[in-house]
């Protein structure tokens, strides 16, 4: 063991004026795609669109939980491997080169989703699979898949009801696991999922009202699937114009897909949210800016006492060897 010199760089964080909410300290995102099978390509494209925006606007991978129920990018059916496009003209590869999926395939279940939100995960769960939010976290929850009146289907074999969703969020509130939640859902009859929420500080938007279907945007005839849903397509279009310094508000985002383009009516629930969405910057939920100010003056740092490491133990020469690569058939005893 030898001595190490320690170098320190000091940064101080100053709170920027536009941060009106003193309780908001960090951002998390939980993005879930609940559909499996190749013909549900568009749901994966939906969730990856939001993932891309959220990452671009600053939330690091360690604070994004991405759940994708099936693999589209490396699916042998995909004629453009390693990519998921949001547009038939292949404008944006929403899958990208730097993606980390935390829950995938059979792991995307209702139980795992609720455990993730409430924090009741079994011991041994790796950090990247845990939602380690605290009372200062603004959490963005995005769900997409096939839904109905009061439920959302997970992988065609189970459902989560709106009551269960509301209860999970209430548990989060009781355990002080969030400061504010923005709940986005892009499914058929999406509004039914947030009707039963009863915890404070939740702003919810759904791509369609009860009784309406959310429609897909268009077909990519070279792949042969519906490639993205309408609501998320226009939401992505809006978010592509947002950059980390932007001053667009949540109110503008809530108006992003009028009925003329979306065909379904976008539903919004504001009563549990105590701020006016028009005054909330979009980066409160989609971005993760922590304004940083670099100080120009140097500060003196005292060196820590370096520990003298104990003397090396008496060096005992041992003989190591490589093992024979395969058994000798003649010497095996039964």
């Amino acid at each position: 063991m030898h001595l190490l010199n320690v170098y320190f760089f000091l940064f101080s964080i100053s709170v920027v004026q536009s941060f009106s909410n003193k309780n908001h300290t960090n951002n998390w995102a939980v993005l879930v795609d609940t559909s499996r099978f190749w013909f549900n390509y568009r749901h994966v494209a939906n969730v990856l669109s939001i993932y891309r925006s959220v990452k671009r606007l600053g939330i690091p991978d360690s604070q994004i939980i991405l759940m994708i129920a099936d693999d589209m990018a490396c699916n042998p059916r995909n004629p453009r491997p390693g990519t998921v496009f949001n547009n038939a003209d292949q404008h944006i590869n929403v899958y990208g080169d730097d993606v980390e999926v935390d829950y995938r395939g059979y792991e995307v279940t209702v139980e795992n989703f609720v455990r993730l939100l409430t924090g009741r995960l079994p011991p041994g769960t790796p950090r990247s699979k845990q939602l380690l939010s605290d009372e200062g976290s603004n959490v963005l929850i995005y769900l997409t898949g096939h839904g109905g009146d009061g439920f959302l289907k997970f992988q065609d074999s189970e459902e989560i009801t709106s009551q269960e969703m509301a209860d999970a969020l209430e548990q989060m509130w009781q355990k002080q696991r969030y400061n504010e939640i923005f709940f986005m859902i892009d499914t058929c009859q999406a509004a039914s999922m947030y009707e039963r929420f009863y915890s404070p500080n939740i702003l919810a938007v759904g791509s369609s009202l009860v009784g309406e279907d959310s429609l897909s945007h268009h077909v990519d005839s070279s792949i042969g699937v519906y490639i993205i849903d309408r609501y998320t397509y226009y939401a992505l279009e809006f978010l592509e114009k947002v950059n980390p310094q932007s001053d667009k508000s949540m109110g503008e985002f809530l108006k992003v897909c009028p009925k003329s383009v979306c065909i379904s009516t976008v539903g919004v629930r504001k009563d549990l949210f105590n701020r006016n969405p028009d005054n909330v910057p979009i980066t409160d939920f989609f971005g993760s800016i922590r304004p940083v100010e670099v100080l120009c003056d140097l500060s003196n740092v005292t060196l820590l006492q370096s520990k003298q490491l104990s003397q090396e133990e008496a060096f005992k020469p041992k003989k190591y060897r490589y093992i024979d690569p395969i058994v000798n058939f003649n010497t095996i005893k039964s």
Binding site: R36, F37, W38, F39, C74, N75, P76, R77, N78, P79, P81, V219, S221, S222, I223, G224, V225
Partner: protein
């Protein structure tokens, strides 16, 4: 509910009604079943076909097949090669082409031994190439097959199918979106080749031992999910017929049929089922007639259990398969004719949709009837017709049983003596008839294999005539059964026979509805009329009627009628001779089918129907004396009687 109560303690009201009116009930039910069946063809009873499996996404992808020139070139070269190989498969040319395209190419040798003459052996060779999915791991596969027909074959030619298959292989090898391996299979000797290939693929033997030696395959593609068989007879296709009937009446998943149908319609080619296209008429009766004819045609094919194309052999392995047969001339006037590019696009569309599937076909129906290519009848709609008919057997058996109990009760009360019922003798009779049935089913092979002095004769003679002799001898069995004059024993035998017939017919209807229905519609009314009777004339009439319902007689009559329709211009004598020949052939073919492919029609007829027929035949010989207790009049059993017995 008297489910668990002792049936002899008393007769409930329901039973009394049953005993009084059971014959009318049976008649009504039978007629109801027939009417239900006739009503199946009405548009209100059947529904339009639709796609159950969302994952198929048919027709959504843009077609990219452009290799029609290659197909034309392959076709020319193949015709040249076929001139060199007159009656066998030009396998070296096919192997070379597959290798050139870049597929993994293999040959498969198989040998068929004649079931009646062990020294006769026929060998064949299949050629197949596997297109490995570019990013897949060879765990799933799709099959595109075509039967190779040399120029000497009696069937219409299939050289264009081979050509389009090669062109499609070339196209598909370039694309990178295949998730499953595609196996391009060219078989020889029609269905034997496909059966041998499938048996080698799965390492099983479906027929009898040592008949079909299936050899071994070197290359496989994993679990096969679906197969498309092509039989295109010319370069220009004016009509595309889809054939679905498989071995033992099994059908592919309805979604596969819908997919093929939609792809053909998308290309604009006249798409037919059973050679009939979509039919529109304002007169409901004409519509009904058209649907009914189609339905009967499909049922006729399904009932024999013989597949009408190579696709039929895939079904037992859980592989959904159908055949696309392309004709140049179409029945519709002025229909669109498509060239190789069109057929290539149809195949491409089908395979792209099959490629989209992750799971096996499981959503849509496996049991259905098709009155036309865009309407279907599901099992829940058609099964009541045959259940009503067969239910009569059970009702009659039930009623006769209760009557028998009543008789014995009465006997006990009046203390008359009648010969006791010898149950063991009845059971013995029953088992002996079944033993004879097993014997009959094995006679042909036994005779031809072990009695070699007969080998000089033709197959017809050495197989069919011993069988015929056996059956004729069996007709004399009732004369040896002494207890045929005991009424009670015969009643019991009758009940047993009816129960057996009802059960067997229901089981067959589940597997092969057409066969079950045709057997039911013929045998049920005759079985209802066979009773132990008191008058001789009735007995003679029953015997005559039941004789007509013998399986061999029915077969002969059906074949004769068929011959008459096929050759209307010939004289009666020639038709009879031809028909008799055809009957012999059909019996022999069904024996061969059961030994090579495992077709169970022959087995079921000889092991079950003939013994059952014998049981009824014995019952029809029962003529009892008049002074036995006449239980036709139902009387209420009074309390006085019960008290007496107590």
């Amino acid at each position: 509910m008297g489910l668990l109560t002792d049936p002899t303690t008393g007769q409930g009201k329901f039973i009394k009604i049953l005993l009084k009116y059971y014959s009318y009930a049976c008649m009504l039910l039978y007629i109801g079943g027939v009417i239900w069946f006739l009503a199946l063809a009405y548009p209100t009873m059947n529904a339009n076909t639709y796609f159950s499996e969302n994952a198929l996404l048919p027709g959504l992808v843009k077609s990219q097949f452009r290799e029609d020139r290659e197909a034309a070139r392959y076709h020319e070269e193949l015709l040249d090669e076929m001139n060199k190989y007159h009656d066998s498969i030009p396998y070296s040319w096919l192997l070379a082409k597959f290798n050139q395209i870049g597929l993994d190419t293999y040959t498969h040798n198989f040998t068929l031994t004649s079931p009646f003459n062990r020294k006769d052996k026929f060998s064949g060779k299949n050629v197949y190439g596997i297109l490995r999915a570019p990013r897949g791991s060879s765990s799933e596969a799709l099959v595109l097959s075509t039967p190779f027909r040399p120029s000497t074959s009696a069937h219409p030619p299939t050289a264009p199918s081979v050509a389009i298959m090669l062109a499609f292989a070339k196209f598909a090898n370039r694309e990178k979106y295949w998730a499953k391996d595609i196996i391009f299979l060219i078989t020889e000797h029609e269905q034997v080749g496909v059966q041998a290939w499938l048996e080698a693929y799965y390492g099983v033997s479906c027929g009898s031992e040592n008949i079909l030696d299936h050899g071994d395959l070197r290359g496989r593609g994993g679990a096969i999910q679906a197969a498309i068989n092509l039989e295109l007879h010319s370069e220009r296709i004016g009509q595309m017929d889809i054939k679905i009937e498989g071995l033992n009446g099994q059908l592919p998943n309805l979604d596969l049929f819908n997919l093929a149908s939609k792809m053909c319609t998308k290309e604009g080619v006249y798409q037919t089922f059973k050679n009939k296209g979509p039919f529109y008429s304002r007169k409901p009766s004409k519509e009904w007639l058209n649907y009914f004819r189609n339905m009967l045609s499909m049922m006729g094919t399904q009932a024999t259990g013989i597949p009408n194309g190579n696709h039929g052999l895939f079904h037992r392995f859980g592989i959904q398969a159908l055949t696309l047969e392309g004709f140049e001339q179409s029945r519709a006037k002025g229909s669109n004719k498509i060239w190789f590019v069109g057929t290539g696009r149809i195949i491409e569309g089908i395979f792209r949709s099959l490629n989209n599937l992750l799971e096996r076909f499981h959503q849509s129906f496996f049991f259905y009837l098709l009155p036309s290519s865009d309407r279907y009848i599901s099992i829940s709609i058609y099964i009541p017709s045959v259940c009503l008919m067969i239910g009569t057997m059970f009702i009659k058996a039930c009623a006769r049983w209760f009557k028998l109990q009543e008789t014995s009760c009465k006997e006990m009360s009046t203390e008359t003596h009648s010969p006791p019922v010898r149950i063991d003798k009845i059971i013995t009779t029953f088992l002996v008839t079944h033993f004879f049935g097993v014997l009959v089913s094995n006679i042909p092979q036994f005779m031809s294999r072990y009695i070699t002095s007969l080998s000089v004769y033709e197959t017809n003679v050495k197989v069919f005539y011993p069988l015929l002799a056996c059956l004729v001898q069996l007709l004399f069995i009732p004369l040896f059964i002494r207890m045929r004059h005991c009424r009670k024993s015969m009643e019991l035998l009758n009940i047993l026979a009816m129960l057996e017939l009802g059960t067997v017919l229901i089981c067959i209807s589940m597997n092969n509805f057409s066969l079950g229905f045709f057997c039911a519609i013929i045998s049920v009314p005759a079985a209802l009329l066979v009773n132990p009777s008191s008058c001789r004339i009735c007995s003679y009439f029953q015997r005559f009627l039941w004789f007509l319902v013998h399986p061999l007689i029915i077969l002969t009559v059906a074949v004769m009628i068929n011959t008459y329709f096929l050759f209307p211009e010939e004289r009666m004598k020639e038709i009879v001779i031809r028909g008799w020949d055809a009957t012999q052939q059909s019996v022999i073919f069904s024996i061969v089918d059961s030994m090579v492919y495992g077709n169970w029609l022959y087995g079921v007829v000889t092991n079950i129907f003939i013994p059952n027929w014998l049981c009824f035949w014995i019952v029809s010989f029962c003529v009892f004396k008049e002074d036995e207790i006449d239980t036709e009049k139902t009387e209420d059993i009074t309390d006085k009687d019960i008290k007496k017995t107590n």
